[in-house]
Symmetry: C2
Subunit: 464 residues, 2 copies
Amino acid sequence: MSLDDVLARIDTDLPAAMERLMDLLRIQSISTDPAFKSDCDKAADWLVSDLNSMGITAEKRPTPGHPMVVGHVGQDLGDDVPHVLFYGHYDVQPVDPLNLWNTPPFEPQIEDTPNGQVIRGRGASDDKGQLMTFVEACRAWKEVHGSLPCRITFFFEGEEESGSPSLIPFMQDNADELKADLALICDTSMVSRGVPSIASQLRGMLKDEFTITGPRIDLHSGHYGGPGLNPLREMSKIIASFHDEDTGAVTVDGFYEGVHEVSAEQLRQWQNCGFDEAEYLNSVGYSQPHGEKAYSTLEQQWARPTLEINGLWGGYNGAGSKTVIPSEAHCKITCRLVGDMDPDALRDKIRAHVQQRLSPDATVTWDNDLEGSPAPVMNIARPEFEAARGALSDEWDREAVFTGMGGSIPIAGFFKSVLDMDAMLVGYANDDDAIHSPNEKYDVKSFHKGIRSWARILDALTRT
Amino acid sequence: MSLDDVLARIDTDLPAAMERLMDLLRIQSISTDPAFKSDCDKAADWLVSDLNSMGITAEKRPTPGHPMVVGHVGQDLGDDVPHVLFYGHYDVQPVDPLNLWNTPPFEPQIEDTPNGQVIRGRGASDDKGQLMTFVEACRAWKEVHGSLPCRITFFFEGEEESGSPSLIPFMQDNADELKADLALICDTSMVSRGVPSIASQLRGMLKDEFTITGPRIDLHSGHYGGPGLNPLREMSKIIASFHDEDTGAVTVDGFYEGVHEVSAEQLRQWQNCGFDEAEYLNSVGYSQPHGEKAYSTLEQQWARPTLEINGLWGGYNGAGSKTVIPSEAHCKITCRLVGDMDPDALRDKIRAHVQQRLSPDATVTWDNDLEGSPAPVMNIARPEFEAARGALSDEWDREAVFTGMGGSIPIAGFFKSVLDMDAMLVGYANDDDAIHSPNEKYDVKSFHKGIRSWARILDALTRT
């Protein structure tokens, strides 16, 4: 079956594909707000209907929240062709503050910008536009060849922007139906404009919270200032001890166990990925990176673990002053985990670090309800990853890069933990897409070349 | 004129004096609550009437808040006798939580306790009981000798428990009338039970507040965790740098300028003042003092300056976790000042300390509206102090002590700054009097020997 014919069909059909996307964007599928429940339902119906129109079996499946959409195509191709699951979400973020939008969020428009045409509207990038790149690629394959090159399971969620409460139960209840060789997820960005990216390195998470108690009660800073142990000072001392001022490294004993150095090939890709370090730093007010000095900014963000203070409080914070030595100081921390770092072991190490540094008369208590998750493993040794990288490089005329991501994408971990299925994250969004913000947009180039990219990837997967 | 006759009269009259105090305690003169405005007025009237009944000129003087009471006696004695002003306050703290009182707060009672009889009720110790020790001493002198040994100005305030808003304007407007050789203030405690005390060393205060800003906006700890400068860590580093872990001393350059070592004689008195270090520390959960290791607990509390963190906050402090690197961290500090420490110079030193330690990309802003006040100077070289110490030692059969106080008593400073008048602080309260708390009490022994003490002090002052 000829890929060239499929790509040509995609080019010809682009205006119609944009119309279909704008149709979907007009549906106000804000999942977090109950007022838009029927709109979420409508978006699910729209997708079922669109898949059906291509001759793909698809159904809306109820959940306690918004429905899932599950579709299947290519079962007749037999077990010799690859079987992939494609995941996307049809729900969108709320649109407030509405007054900051230049056009109505649910009246999508095509606009010319210095970076080319964009489709403006809520969900254009996150995730309706990205989702539709895959659907349109499938449509082109179907229209040109009457069938797809792979078996495909479609899996669309309507609760991604509101915490995915139904996702894991639904995956568990429908495990047999959803299981495939590999999950494809289209909800990520390119590392920089025009540089095709496969997110292959994500970070895990450890959360903890602790309270340091000094005196039994809040004290008068006149009566006890001097002899009194102040838990705010104690807390500051502990927090300051977490990092080495000179190297920027975390000082917790054994913190870096399970951290692997980035391979030379990976580093080479990152050095050439077009990441604009100055822009990344300057845009938020930094003139330089502030992490581990032995590592580049990208490594600090993608490949190195962190111990971060997310909240710190104690004593008086109202207007004026209060002469108090408070009884308690509180701190919330999160760690970003990489490689094989074990969140449970790490929690113990951090707690021991704090315990060992406490002054006499200070005590620490820990919140026991906070979870941890290891770094999701992207199995880039699988041949599908290199195949997809080749396909993306061909389409964008630029070497595709296995990038890292500083954050966590839970769905990738769920496919592994619930369905024992590896996932591959490919997305065409740009950092300036304003997802979750007013005036969200998706580049027409991302949409067009995204569709072509998936067409190529599906083709390439048949040769792995 | 015989002191012995006066003391004998005080002993005989004690039951009547206690009845008078209980009369005054029945008046619900809570100054902070407008609902008790007429009660405050009634307490002022009661005092005017009581002074008048002894043949002392006294008037209620209006202010924008609760009235002052000003009285005079002994003008006919001429300039050869000392002229003292006596200050006390007739207003009391609110009584909530009412359910924690074992008896109604404004129905005073005499109770037997393991430490002897007490007068139980709101204001018994703070400050109606203490105030009346002086009034009763004057009454005894008047009744026995027809006159007092000194010229006396009485100055009673009704807003001490609600911030004294009218005090300074009233002192300024009536400076000529209020000016005397020395102010006597009876609103302090004895350093330990049965140890007569003159508070001769108080601490001043410097307040400041600062914000450290890192990134321009709150950041996602996945996207920026690693390269991102976290102001909470920056703040902790700064706070941790304020003290030397080994010595407990403040590390701010020049912090101790103007601090004087305590004299050997003073130290001797303190070592023998009956201060129960273990009780002081254990009662709030400390097993040891945590201040400057080179100084005793009492010196840390009375004679050494502090830099204390009273409030610290930034980032997320709600339930659960938030993966944020906040833009700002905030801190409130107060310093307790001793000796000749200059609050303005000290503020500059602290600000320089912070500025010098900031990382690149971190900035600090300061609150400019917070005041400072130097340590009030108690002029214990004046002969009246040694005279009073002798009188107190005679009465309590125990060497009286020039003590320190960790806190600040603003009125002492006001007599100096507004009226250029030294003040002497003598009080008979005990630390277990529960002032400001439910079940406030005043030991009958404090009341009785307090009256006798003032009778002796007035006598002793005539020989200075």
